[in-house]
């Protein structure tokens, strides 16, 4: 039954990781400009070759 202790610890760690990921993504302004990113990925990078 002591495996439960390990599992509980792991589950909280995993959930804590996602909480950290969420806070980090908000902090690094990833939700500030939701339209821009969608357009930026459409650029061709061939401009330097000219």
């Amino acid at each position: 039954m002591s495996v439960l202790f390990v599992l509980v610890a792991i589950s909280i760690l995993v959930a804590g990781f996602f909480l950290f990921a969420f806070i980090w993504s908000v902090k690094s302004s990833q939700f500030e400009d939701q339209e821009g990113a969608a357009m930026r990925m459409l650029y061709d990078n061939n401009i330097d070759k000219k």
Binding site: E32, E35, G36, Y43
Partner: protein
């Protein structure tokens, strides 16, 4: 000017139906401006194309067709000279270390993926620019550049040449850099969600096993729950305590007070149960309720990043103007303008302060300040007021009052601007009134319960009373209001009405009197017209058309539309005098089109024509009558049924008869209203208890918008500058206005409905709790059940209502 040869080309192209500019997509009058087979509408557009082409950035034109902005207006060469002033530049920098500088500029013209592409490749156009990044939502470009290679002025001028002229106003220089989005509530939401989920999970074993689980596991789960509940109570829920305390200090019982009380009692009782080992407490219910309340508040606090509801005159004024010092011209910050300074004013610039006209041909457009749509011609020595816009030549004026003391800015000193409308709305809100009674009733019930158990079984006083206070938490009421408002805000914005915050919804639902502004709100453009004087013959019409077609002035354009297409006769000696008119000769005839003075007409005071046409000695006057918006005509009967209507116009009463027909006999129409008059009119209506909505469009309505219960700005382009207001309505959705009002009125009933449901839950919960046997398990079922059903009822009812009103539920 065109030679006869090119004149023919023009005719051919007009006949072959419209050419559009490769850069901006505007229709081209001539095919003469071109690079290879690409045609441009003006030299400006061609210039931008050349700059882009030389730098190999032509992908710009591949991403979307005709991405550019019309370049008809040319940039005055030293318009941005003031940016060379280190002090002014320093105020605009976000970061500056003597070498690198970072500046964020607002560019209203950004509209498509090409714009973004070009603005993010600015380092290709200038070596000094290291990096540029555009935030598409807020239309702000952040540019990092090396100050030893390129100056801020050069960067701004480069943007302007590309057609992306940034808007730099007095507002920017006044330390608005602290404008950062408050993300604290989002973090709290994340933490609350994480803790709620885990606490729920850890509580299941105890709920679900009927035989009871091992003692060691019970302890483990309880301790873990306790640890996880600490951030919920002390961090995520902190705003409830803070607001409740702030209210109590002012002797106000707001909705957060009973919520904070319930949270404290729940937490205290849970701690007691866990430490004494008699139970597992109500930590799951508590964190759940905190989480759902935070979600409700986040949904309700939706903001429109590209819109601003708080603009005053500062957003319209430039940072600096040219001041004559001896014989030299110095850029001076507007805030440093002193009395007796001599200001040099260029075409299309705004008068920064009240002053006396010293020199120049003044033709001032006061539409900004008064709403009067016609520019006025002023002689030297007359007084000009701040906010007017010079149309025409350069002017010299002497400042007589500093900026803050001027006629226009004094409007902002009116007390109407000092109230915080959000706070005022909250205090009037039904939720606020309700929460006061709720708390009182709750305390009376708690006292009765305590008395009852004191008589029968004193040991049950504490459990029964605490359980009651936990169950009776008015969070269901808070939830019904926040979720209804959140969903309504979303529906409103999908239908072109953007509200400043959720408190406006309730105000909007109470409106019983709507006041309209005329120019720009009910009317738009001018297609209809009337004439007086000489009747033009067909031949003369063609001559006037030919002279007017080469001018870009709105009146010339309107005149050409009226006269209709004619074959162009090539005029000779064609001259355009800005602010006055155009002049040319065709054959033996001299043709002048323009203002009264220019054409030598003695005006009659009441009936000023917009434009005069003079062919030799024969004079024709044209009066353009602004058209009513189709939607305005369409919605008026329905609005008249719903509430009273008034009209306040800064303009003269030329259109009174038409307006009377539109608005009906019972409506009040007032003309030649100054901004302060409009404000006072609304204040008078409010004194009789009327809830007034003001619908306007310009800075001249700013006072009235602020004074009214709901100030709505109507705008053709949502991204345009709008004065400070409570709501912004997309002019193309004006037809929806009556339905949007009805939806706002329904908010009250929806909130009432979910109030009733939540009170039913409260009664069930109270029934159980007063008997003193509230199981954590029952609380854990009751809490999510009531929360979810309230979310469903509020969002469902508001969406169904919106659908019945034929409003769109989806984003455009």
């Amino acid at each position: 000017m065109f030679t006869t040869d090119e004149g023919k080309v023009v005719e051919k192209e007009v006949a072959a139906n419209k050419l559009s500019c490769y850069h901006c997509g505007a229709s081209c009058i001539t095919a003469n401006i071109h690079v290879e087979e690409k045609v441009f509408c003006c030299e400006g557009c061609k210039l931008v194309y050349e700059v882009i082409n030389q730098n190999g950035l032509c992908d710009y034109y591949q991403l979307s067709s005709h991405p550019g902005l019309s370049q008809v207006k040319t940039l005055r060469s030293n318009k941005y000279a003031y940016l060379d002033d280190a002090a002014i530049a320093g105020q605009l920098y976000k970061f500056y270390n003597g070498k690198h500088a970072i500046v964020t500029l607002y560019i209203p013209g950004v509209h498509c993926s090409s714009c973004m592409w070009l603005l993010e490749h600015m380092h290709k156009l200038n070596d000094g620019i290291v990096e540029s990044r555009l935030n598409f939502t807020t239309k702000e470009v952040t540019i990092r550049f090396l100050t030893d290679k390129v100056s801020l002025r050069k960067v701004v001028e480069l943007l302007a040449t590309l057609g992306y002229e940034p808007h730099i106003s007095l507002d920017d220089s006044e330390g608005k850099k602290t404008k950062r989005i408050d993300r604290r509530r989002i973090y709290k939401l994340g933490v609350a969600g994480f803790c709620f989920g885990n606490i729920m999970l850890m509580s299941f074993p105890e709920y679900l096993s009927s035989a009871g689980i091992d003692k060691q596991y019970t302890m483990l789960f309880r301790v873990l729950n306790l640890i996880l509940s600490v951030p919920v109570f002390f961090y995520a829920a902190s705003e409830f305590f803070v607001t409740a305390w702030a209210g109590l200090k002012q002797k106000i019982l707001n909705i957060d007070a009973p919520i904070a009380l319930a949270l404290i009692i729940t937490y205290a009782r849970s701690l007691y149960e866990i430490f004494t080992g008699i139970g597992s407490g109500y930590l799951d219910s508590m964190s759940g309720i905190v989480f759902f309340m935070l979600v409700g508040r986040v949904v309700q606090e939706r903001t429109y990043k590209s819109l601003s509801f708080h603009r005053d005159y500062k957003a319209y004024f430039p940072i600096a103007v040219d001041v004559l010092k001896g014989s030299s011209v110095v850029s001076t910050k507007i805030t440093e303008l002193k009395e007796n300074d001599i200001v040099q004013l260029h075409n299309d610039e705004i008068i920064p302060a009240d002053g006396i006209l010293i020199k120049g041909n003044a033709r001032i457009d006061y539409s900004f300040v008064t709403g009067e749509s016609e520019p006025v011609q002023l002689p030297e020595k007359s007084i000009v007021y701040a906010g007017g816009r010079q149309k025409g030549d350069q002017l010299l004026m002497q400042v007589i009052k500093p900026v803050v003391g001027s006629y226009l800015t004094s409007l902002w000193n009116n007390h109407a601007f000092s109230n915080n409308k959000t706070t005022a709305n909250e205090e009037e809100s039904i939720i606020h009134k309700f929460s006061k009674y709720f708390t009182i009733v709750l305390f009376i019930l708690a006292a009765i319960t305590a008395l009852y158990w004191a008589v029968y079984d004193a040991s049950k006083i504490l459990p029964a009373v605490s359980a009651m206070l936990i169950v009776a938490c008015p969070c269901a009421l808070l939830l019904s209001a926040t979720y209804t408002n959140g969903n309504l805000l979303r529906i409103f914005s999908n239908n072109g009405l953007f509200l400043r915050d959720a408190t406006v919804i309730e105000q909007l639902g109470n409106i019983d009197h709507i006041v309209f502004d005329k120019t720009g709100t009910l009317t738009q453009g001018s297609k209809t017209y009337s004439t007086s004087g000489h009747q033009l013959s067909a031949e003369e019409e063609a001559m006037v058309y030919s002279v007017a077609i080469s001018s870009q002035h709105p009146h010339s354009v309107a005149l050409c539309e009226i006269l209709g297409p004619h074959a162009k006769i090539q005029p000779d000696n064609w001259v355009e005098i800005p602010g006055s008119g155009v002049k040319a000769t065709i054959g033996k005839h001299t043709i002048r089109i323009g203002s009264a003075i220019f054409t030598g007409v003695v005006e009659d005071a009441d009936n000023k024509a917009n434009v005069y046409v003079r062919i030799d000695d024969k004079i024709t006057a044209y009066y353009f009558l602004p058209d009513f918006r189709d939607a305005a005509v369409q919605v008026m009967p329905e609005l008249r049924d719903m509430c009273k209507i008034s009209l306040l116009s800064g303009d003269n009463n030329r259109q009174e008869a038409d307006l009377r027909k539109l608005l009906g006999q019972e409506s009040e129409l007032l003309f030649s209203q100054k901004p302060v008059d409009k404000l006072t009119y609304i204040a008078q209506l409010q004194q009789n208890g009327t809830k007034v909505a003001m619908i306007g469009d310009g800075l001249n309505d700013a006072g009235a918008l602020q004074q009214s219960n709901v100030g709505i700005t109507l705008t053709d382009d949502i991204n345009n500058f709008t004065p400070s207001c409570d709501a912004i309505l997309d002019a193309s959705r004006l037809a929806y206005l009556p339905r949007l009002l009805r939806l706002a009125r329904s908010a009250r009933s929806i909130i009432n409905l979910s109030f009733i449901v939540s009170i039913l839950y409260n009664i069930v919960g109270l029934y159980i709790s007063v008997r003193g046997d509230m199981e954590p398990m029952i609380a854990a079922i009751l809490m999510p059940a009531s929360t979810l059903s309230i979310i469903l009822i509020t969002t469902g009812a508001s969406s169904i209502w919106a659908r019945r009103l034929r409003l769109s539920l989806q984003a455009r």
